[in-house]
């Protein structure tokens, strides 16, 4: 008799690939019911019913009670019950319930990580019944290629990966407890004190992340520059000029800087010494997710979220390995030659792949970081076909980094010559690649910035073409950008590779931070200040570290999920009672910040007519339409007003129109390029230039 096995996948695309790979004829039968795709694959004497979820079909919700805090009673419920926007998930649950009837076994084929394990576990527990857990097995794979999937099927362990499931469940429950309680505490402190409602969220990872931004903001806002001087010199060798560095990179005294300049001006330099050495420059290791997000931001300015989404699409198309990995290593189990054989068939990489295949031994450069679940991100070697611009760029980056990691070290020759000028020592530096090694594979992303020096002889006299003591000032630390903040979160060990980018986006969505680079808003600053004073634990990295350690220990068997969740409740109890006691103070302070932020956002610039008022964005109470008007309208001294676009977000630019002086604003609309606009409809610049005037 044929045995039916229910195979649960995380996403529809993955379900299709898995069904195809496991079907004996590579042609599973596809069905659709209530918008849910599923496949019947035949493998030996088994019928595999391969069905997909749509991410998490179950989530945590409060178990009874009102919208208040503290909340420690919760249960797992279908996602559509907790969030109406997820109504489609109901169909998935119903279809999976129907398909699970009468099956003899279950397989979890979701992405092999904590989230994937938890998705399948909650479906089995709540849809297929508790008994299904004993009959369930886990497929472990890092790519969606046929070869890997078949291997994962054949080498499946007999049981589910319960330690990973427990760790995932505990992480969700701990995050829910922190998120729901702290968010409600903040939101209700404002609502109960002032009657004003605005969702103000904070969580156990959001808190420390916001604190990082705040600390940097304070450094920048309290920064005072100090002067220093850099002695810049230039010599002529043949037809070319070369810059030289003074022996002291910075001079902190004007008279000393002037003395050096005076002593060297118009003098000739004498080469006192020349040293050359060759150094091997090793390739970068293959990408972890964090490395990929940083490199993609650096090269293309893609946000960590955009990069992750592109990488996930590439993974689902079986073009790269699973991207949510911390690993920078390629284990021996990966068939590097087979991947290169595949890349050889792709025009852009054929030459490089050929060169690597001709090596007798392939030894990838391994990084320090490892991940027990997945190797570093690497291509599978499958032909990519047509990719959109973002996916194409990310794919290219991954392929080239993979090939570079297999390349030989590059060899660089560094030359340093000490030049004596009137008793002062200057340094002339040259550098050139003598063997390109791996840099040839990473060529578009490796820019050679070397300086090639001509032959130099000791005691050779060289004319100076320029000596100047340039005044400089120390600069404040740079603001975070999405990737530098992500790196700090990674280094501090807070959040997971899957959630960090989302947390940064949440801080922006909540208007705690804005812009690029990331600047803290007054609201964000007030939230941190208030929490710092009343419940500093929420902002502390130590508390989050402790929890992360405990969550990790669940996977190694050191702690149970229930113990970690109970521990989180104990941490939360005193924090929430502090909140309750100080609700009034917290509410007033945050409300002040909200008001000042609203005023700041509505102020578009100075009034060009009365010169004393401010042009503000106003909404007509009757019609709901918006326009801009002078703040002096209220005291009857200025009645200037301008119409505004009714759609999209309007941001002040702080600039006045060059033609009429009216404020210039930036209009942001979904799926449209932001545009700048002088709000004066009669601006002479518009008539002249036919567009947006100033």
């Amino acid at each position: 008799m044929t045995k039916r096995i229910l195979v649960i996948c995380e996403k529809p695309t993955a379900a299709r690939r898995i069904a195809q790979a496991l079907d004996d004829d590579r042609a599973p039968e596809g069905y659709e019911e209530r918008g849910v795709l599923y496949f019947i694959a035949r493998r030996g004497n088994k019928d595999l019913v391969v069905v997909s979820a749509m991410g998490h079909l179950f989530t945590i919700a409060q178990d009874g009670g009102k919208w208040t805090y503290p909340v420690f009673d919760y249960r797992w419920v279908p996602a559509h019950e907790a969030d109406k926007r997820l109504s489609r998930t109901r169909n998935f649950i119903e279809v999976i319930r129907k398909l699970s009837m009468g099956v003899g076994g279950y397989v979890s084929a979701c992405d092999y990580d904590m989230e994937g394990s938890l998705i399948a576990y909650t479906i089995l527990l709540h849809v297929c019944g508790e008994g299904s857990l004993e009959k369930a097995r886990r497929m472990r794979f890092s790519t969606l290629t046929e070869q890997d999937l078949v291997k994962a099927w054949e080498e499946m362990p007999e049981t589910l990966d319960f330690p990973m499931i427990d760790a995932g469940r505990a992480r969700h429950e701990v995050d829910w407890l922190f998120g729901i309680n702290l968010t409600r505490a903040l939101t209700l402190s404002v609502k109960n004190t002032t009657g004003y409602y605005k969702t103000l969220s904070i969580g156990r990872v959001q808190g420390p992340t916001l604190n990082f931004i705040k600390q940097r903001e304070v450094e920048i806002r309290t920064f005072v520059p100090s002067p220093f001087w850099v002695v810049k010199a230039e010599i002529r060798l043949g037809r070319k000029k070369y810059p030289m560095e003074y022996e002291k990179p910075r001079l902190y005294n004007l008279s000393e800087a002037e003395a050096v300049e005076k002593a060297c001006k118009g003098k000739e330099g004498t080469i006192a010494s020349v040293k050359s050495e060759r150094k091997e420059q090793w390739p970068y290791p293959p990408f972890s997710l964090g490395d990929l997000q940083r490199e993609s931001y650096y090269r293309f300015r893609y946000s960590p979220r955009t990069t992750l989404q592109a990488a996930e699409r590439l993974y689902l198309n079986a073009l790269i390995s699973y991207p949510r990995t911390s690993s920078q290593r390629l284990p021996p189990s990966i068939d590097l030659r087979q991947i290169l054989e595949g890349l050889r068939k792709i025009k852009e990489y054929s030459e490089h792949a050929e060169a690597l295949l001709s090596k007798p031994r392939l030894r990838p450069r391994q990084g320090k970081k490892d991940d027990p679940a997945h190797p570093a991100i690497h291509p599978t070697g499958r032909p990519p076909g047509r990719l959109n611009r973002v996916d194409g760029r990310i794919y290219d980056l991954i392929c080239r980094r993979f090939m570079a990691a297999l390349g030989d070290p590059a060899v660089r020759e560094n030359t340093v010559a000490d030049i004596d000028v009137g008793g002062h020592l200057f340094r002339l530096k040259g550098s050139q690649l003598v063997e390109r090694g791996w840099t040839a594979f990473y060529a578009p992303y490796f820019k050679e910035k070397g300086v090639v020096l001509p032959a130099l002889k000791i005691d050779q006299k060289i004319p100076l073409t320029r000596v100047e003591a340039e005044p400089r000032h120390t600069e404040p630390p740079a603001r975070f950008n999405p990737t530098s903040l992500l790196k700090l979160m990674e280094d501090e060990g807070i959040g997971t590779k899957a959630t960090r980018a989302e947390i940064i986006d949440t801080l922006r969505r909540r208007e705690y931070a804005e812009g690029q680079p990331i600047e803290m808003t007054d609201l964000g600053l007030t939230i941190v200040e208030t929490l710092e004073r009343i419940v500093p634990e929420i902002l502390s990295v130590e508390m989050t570290h402790g929890l992360e350690r405990d969550l990790d220990e669940i996977q190694t068997g050191g702690l149970t999920a229930d113990a970690v969740v109970d521990g989180a409740v104990e941490i939360l109890k005193p924090i929430l009672s502090e909140f309750k006691e100080n609700e009034g103070v917290i509410g007033v302070e945050i409300n002040e910040a909200l008001k000042s932020q609203a005023l700041k956002e509505s102020t578009l610039g100075p009034c060009p007519v009365c010169d004393t008022g401010e042009i503000r964005l106003v909404r007509n109470r009757k019609t709901g339409k918006r326009f801009a008007g002078c703040s002096n309208f209220l005291n009857g001294t200025c009645d200037v007003s301008y119409p505004l676009p009714q759609r999209g977000k309007i941001l002040a630019t702080g600039e006045g129109c060059l033609h009429c002086g009216a404020p210039v604003v930036k209009v942001l609309r979904r799926r449209r390029r932001p545009w700048r606009l002088c709000i004066n409809i009669d601006c002479p610049g518009k008539k002249k230039e036919g567009r947006d005037g100033g």
Binding site: E219, T222, F223, V224
Partner: protein, 74 residues
């Protein structure tokens, strides 16, 4: 009603004029002044004037510099 910083709405300690942020900015001004004085001999007022105009100066440090200048000139 708690004592407020002379430059912003934030609370200040009883024995100081500024909130913790503006106090930190004042400390930074003082320590930077010694660097400026070593580099180019200059008085406190010239220093305040110079740093209040520099783009690298943080907004809270600039607030304090301008306020200290006001005090000196009044």
């Amino acid at each position: 009603m708690a004592d407020r910083c002379v430059l912003c709405h934030r609370e200040r300690r009883s024995n100081v004029e500024y909130c913790p942020y503006h106090s930190l900015a004042l400390e930074n001004l003082k320590s930077s002044y010694s660097h400026w004085n070593d580099a180019i001999e200059m008085g406190w007022v010239s220093f305040l004037r110079e740093v209040s105009e520099r783009p690298e100066t943080g907004m809270w440090a600039r607030d304090v510099a301008l306020h200290e200048l006001d005090i000196k000139s009044s």
